[in-house]
Amino acid sequence: MQFFKSAREDRGAAERAADAASKLDAIMRSQAVIEFQLDGTIITANQNFFNAMGYTAAEIEGRHHSMFVDPTEAVGADYKEFWRELNRGVFAAKKFRRIAKGGREIWLQASYNPVIGADGKPYKVIKLAVDITEAEQAFARSEAERARAEQEQKEVVDALADSLRRLSDGDLTARVEAAFNGDYRRLKDDYNSAIESMRDTLNAISGATGSLRNGANEIASASDDLSRRTEQQAANLEETAAALDQITATVKRSAEGAKQASSAASGAKQEAERSGDVVREAVAAMGEIEGSSKQISQIIGVIDEIAFQTNLLALNAGVEAARAGEAGKGFAVVAQEVRALAQRSAEAAKEIKTLISSSTSQVERGVKLVGEAGHALTGIVSKVTEIDGLISEIAQSAQEQATGLNEVNSAVNQMDEVTQQNAAMVEEATAAASGLNTEAAELARLVSQFRTGDAAGRPELADPERHAPARNPVAKAQAKVKAFARAGAGGARAEQWEEF
């Protein structure tokens, strides 16, 4: 009221009255107006108010303002204070929640205006209100909707946060089981689908890790096998080298033996040839002896003949002496003596003849034996020549063996190189397999941090000691083989076979 008065003070009263009336009309048309006593008793209200509250004038006039207030609020201290403030003339304007007829809730944008009398004291309260129930209720609905949405969002966020926390702890079984609506449902489904997909992927990774570890184990095992075989090969190579050493020594001995045999055969040949000369000389000497014996035999024959003739002469002399009778006795004695001499000569000649005959037969036998010896010596010479040829062949064979041994030595060297390369490769492979194993174990450990609810798929943790890189097992054998290959092959080539 003060407002109206102050605004219209400079104008004419009529004009101001008319103006005030039109303003009042405008207010009365657009706003719900109700007037109260200072104690809250309803004086009157306009049609807008009735329309808003659903009451008629009769139903509210004389009644207290509290009929429009929630009963719980009406008995509160705030409500009493509210009215005390109005009685003190304090203006109050805000949104108020009121109860319309039938308990219907209604919201009013209202101002409670204490009307100040001439005495400067309020004597009544005019309330100007606009029904904002629809907007307010819409706002309230919207607010409720927002709260509900917020709640739902919170639940979703909580559920998701819980699941995500579990997920962050590696629990891939952390599905969102709560019932979500609308878009959240899609979110949940997508989340669950994502987590399932991840779980599947991790299960697959877990399985693959198992396979990987098996593969790594197999590689490590194969590498170990290869290492052992390489070691075995190196050992075999060593044995081969040793055998080669022995063969080389044997061939060398054979060559030396062949050389000695050759010189011995040459000596034997010379001896045999010299013996042949001796035999020829012996044969000649025997021939001379034979000739002498024949001459002696002839002489003996002459002597024997002479003795024979002498004997005959003596016999004739004896016969003559016997015929002469007594006169021939002395002659007979002489004849007898001559006969005795002739007979002794004959006997001596006979003995010599026997001896010469025996000597001749012995000489003949000697000649025969010496001839046989000469024949045997000729045979020996030819045999020795054959032996010499055979020994030359043996020496040739030894040379060929030496050539072959050189080739074998070079092959052993190549094998040695290959074995060394293999050994190096095996070492690398073992190290790689070990690294692979460690990586696979690490992968398994990482994968095992995830709980997928699939116990069978969990990869076991690897024992790092089990697949330690193999120590280089062939290095020692290699060193031996290398030492032999250098000493044996080079030495054999350079020194041992020059003489061939």
């Binding site: 003739q309 004997n311 016999l315 004739n316 016969v319 016997a322």
Partner: protein, 154 residues
């Protein structure tokens, strides 16, 4: 024999010789000479024991193979065989023997007569046997050894 007995003295001088490993002897006074083998000229139609004839200082003399004559085989003569030239009265002949052994004197009483055995011929070839250390020595009868017709030749 008759001559031996007439000579008397109680001793005999004999000459021994060998034929086919056997020793025989004859009276040394029947021997004219002893000589080495000389090839004889064969005579046709003569007994086999007559080897032929030889020239003895101008006289043609038959040579007998005494071995054959004694029916002991046939002698293959060589330079070492000996011909004993013997004489029986007018007859003279050469006896081929293997070898002449010895001349010796023996007591006549030691001579023993041969046993009376049947002979293939009518004549006696051995008239006495002298036992000696080495065996029995048969004395041959020179007159019976010589062929009958040699008398004419001589």
């Amino acid at each position: 024999m008759q001559e031996n007995e007439t000579a008397g003295g109680g001793t005999l001088e004999l000459i021994s010789f060998e034929i086919a490993g056997q020793e025989f002897c004859i009276d040394i006074r029947a021997v004219r000479e002893i000589r080495g083998w000389t090839a004889a000229t064969p005579l046709p139609h003569t007994p086999r024991y007559i080897l032929g004839v030889i020239n003895l200082r101008g006289a043609i003399m038959p040579v007998l193979d005494l071995r054959d004559r004694l029916d002991l085989g046939h002698t293959e003569a060589s330079s070492r065989h000996v011909i004993m030239v013997v004489q029986d009265g007018e007859r003279i002949a050469g006896l081929l023997v293997d070898a002449v052994q010895d001349t010796f004197v023996v007591d006549e009483a030691l001579m023993q007569p041969p046993p009376a055995v049947e002979s293939s011929t009518g004549e006696t070839f051995v008239d006495a046997i002298l036992p000696r250390e080495g065996g029995l020595l048969s004395r041959l009868v020179v007159a019976n050894l010589l062929p009958v017709d040699t008398r004419v030749a001589a």
